[in-house]
């Protein structure tokens, strides 16, 4: 006997919360992004006007505005490039690590996995701050470089795009390693032996056997790094300089400094459409598909 009331309670309590505090806020972003901006508080006009009969007062001006100005487009492209480079380095460092962890014996594997993820549990902000200390003009890295005689005077390592990439790769690395490990862990090690027995060298084994089989893990890890990095605000703010503007920064400034709420909303909503929507649709289709196959 199923208790219908009870089921309803379980389904609808979180449903109610998420519609109210997640879906409606997203809808409000959309609403404000198509509102006409004006001076005042709030700095936009209502989208429904009732003074002389009912009138809908919307505009795509805000989208046209951000998509025609290179200041916005350029920053978004900067963010995409930043995310691409960071994802690449995360993969470059994360893949061998995940692979060797997954091929260790069980005891060591669990310890290593915990060791890799533990830094991820410690404060994000403070881990970024740590790089600020390391990359200072009189910081550890410069001291080492000076003592090794690689440079004769301290290098300006901080406040540029390279410092930003460094900080991102460092903080997001565990997000890349975990899904990679998840897939590599299921991987049958005998396949590597088999490919060696069949005469493939290491290089070929890697590109023909290991890499193709880890593609789902690579995709999952890359998405987990790529998407949040595009919207990253803290790391460029702490480690970056004025050499590059990024999406997160201009969104923040558009809202808090220019007080252009419709513009900021249009930026945010474009971000949702370009970055998040494709993934969410994919995820829903995938979960429906896997459920159907299970039944």
């Amino acid at each position: 006997m199923k208790n219908k009331l009870f089921e309803k309670y379980f389904v609808f309590s979180p449903y109610f919360w998420l519609v109210l505090f997640f879906f409606i806020p997203l809808a409000i972003i959309f609403k404000i992004s198509i509102s006409v901006s004006e001076w005042g508080m709030p700095p936009y006009q209502n989208i429904f006007l009732f003074d002389n009969g009912f009138k809908i007062n919307t505009t795509f001006e805000n989208y046209l505005y951000i998509f025609s100005d290179y200041y916005y487009i350029g920053s978004f492209i900067n963010s995409l490039i930043l995310a691409l480079i960071s994802t690449f380095f995360c993969l470059l460092i994360g893949f061998p690590l995940a692979f060797y962890i997954a091929t260790s014996n069980i005891r060591l594997r669990n310890i290593l996995l915990v060791l890799v993820v533990i830094p991820f549990w410690s404060s994000f902000l403070l881990r970024v701050y740590a790089w600020k200390i390391i990359l200072q003009n009189n910081g550890i890295l410069n001291v080492i470089l000076l003592n090794l005689g690689i440079t004769s005077e301290p290098l300006q390592l901080l406040y540029n795009q390279y410092a930003v990439i460094m900080g991102i790769v460092y903080t997001y690395l565990p997000l890349m390693i975990l899904p990679l490990y998840g897939y590599l862990n299921k991987f049958d090690l005998n396949l590597i032996e088999a490919s060696k027995d069949l005469g493939l060298n290491r290089f070929k084994t890697f590109f023909k056997v290991i890499l193709p089989l880890s593609i789902p893990g690579i995709i999952a890890g890359s998405l987990l790094v790529f998407i949040p990095v595009v919207g990253e605000f803290i790391i460029p703010e702490m480690l970056g300089g004025s050499d590059r503007l990024y999406y997160g920064k201009i969104l923040w400034e558009e809202f808090f400094i220019n007080r252009n709420w419709p513009g900021a909303s249009a930026l945010a909503f474009s971000g949702i459409i370009i970055l998040v929507l494709p993934i969410v649709i994919f995820q829903i289709l995938y979960s429906r598909w896997s459920q159907k196959n299970e039944i």
């Binding site: 006997m1 009870f6 290593l112 991820f120 809202f255």
Partner: protein
């Protein structure tokens, strides 16, 4: 022989990369000098200044309070979602339900923060509440984006879960509610605790969403820390880092202990 050397080197370098910055931070927290980068001698001076810094202590208490409350709410709602998605077949607009419960995982925090702020402002215009932003609005926002993380842990656990136990209990005459409260929930309790710990840490660590939804009297710890280190270094923050890293790492270890997924 050669390949095991490569393997050890890669693992060692990887772990070194992950832990070196944390060790540097802890090392400098013991520096006597006010100028963070110039080593003057070992001292606990900044730990002393830290515990006497009212602004930081107050922020710490606010953060813990918000984190504990939002983790609790997020866990209750997240368990409900995880349970619904795995055990309840008829969910109206299921795709929408999945959309709502998984999108916060991938949505950049900045967009989430902006949407929450604009929501609270609009709500205030319509019903006059919340008249100002503060701890309540941060709490609501944190619950909203922590739910998804709990849900995913519970969903994974229930998918592994052997349904026969539940069915056996039903055959023995337990009703639906009794099975849930006496069989299912106790069995998945470790995952529920793991979910709570994860939500607690995420809330405690959040800067971006809290910056958008904060108001008078609601400066959380990350907000205070960020204002101190945005433009420079702060020896007090070094001391705080060492303590916080230690505490969070312990929470992390508990998480692994409870989250059975990593045990096999």
């Amino acid at each position: 022989m050669k390949s095991s050397l490569i393997k050890s080197t890669v693992i060692f370098l990887g772990l070194f990369f992950l832990y070196f910055p944390i060790l540097v931070l802890i090392f400098y927290s013991f520096n006597e000098n006010k100028r963070v980068m110039v080593w003057k001698g070992f001292s606990l001076r900044w730990y002393n200044e830290l515990i006497n810094n009212e602004q930081i202590i107050e922020a710490f208490i606010i953060s813990i309070k918000i984190a504990a409350l939002s983790a609790t709410f997020a866990t209750i709602l997240g368990v409900m979602i995880g349970y619904s998605l795995v055990r309840i077949r008829k969910i109206p607009f299921k795709s929408f339900y999945i959309f709502l419960s998984s999108t916060p995982l991938v949505l950049p925090e900045l967009i989430l923060g902006l949407s929450m702020l604009l929501f609270f402002i609009s709500l205030n215009n319509v019903i006059g509440f919340p008249s100002s932003r503060g701890q309540l609005t941060i709490f609501i926002s944190h619950v909203t984006f922590c739910i998804a993380f709990v849900a995913i842990i519970i969903q994974a656990r229930l998918t592994d879960f052997n349904k026969n136990i539940e069915e056996a209990a039903m055959d023995l005459g337990y009703n639906y509610t009794k099975v849930l409260y006496q069989i299912t929930l106790p069995i998945i309790l470790p995952s529920i605790i793991a979910g709570w710990l994860l939500a607690f840490t995420i809330s405690l660590d959040d800067l971006v969403v809290a910056s958008f939804t904060t108001g008078p009297g609601a400066n959380t710890l990350p907000i205070v820390v960020f204002s101190k280190v945005r433009l420079g270094l702060s020896p007090e923050v070094n001391a705080l880092s060492a303590i916080l890293m230690f505490a969070l790492i312990i929470i992390g270890l508990f998480y692994f202990y409870f989250n059975k997924k990593f045990k096999h």
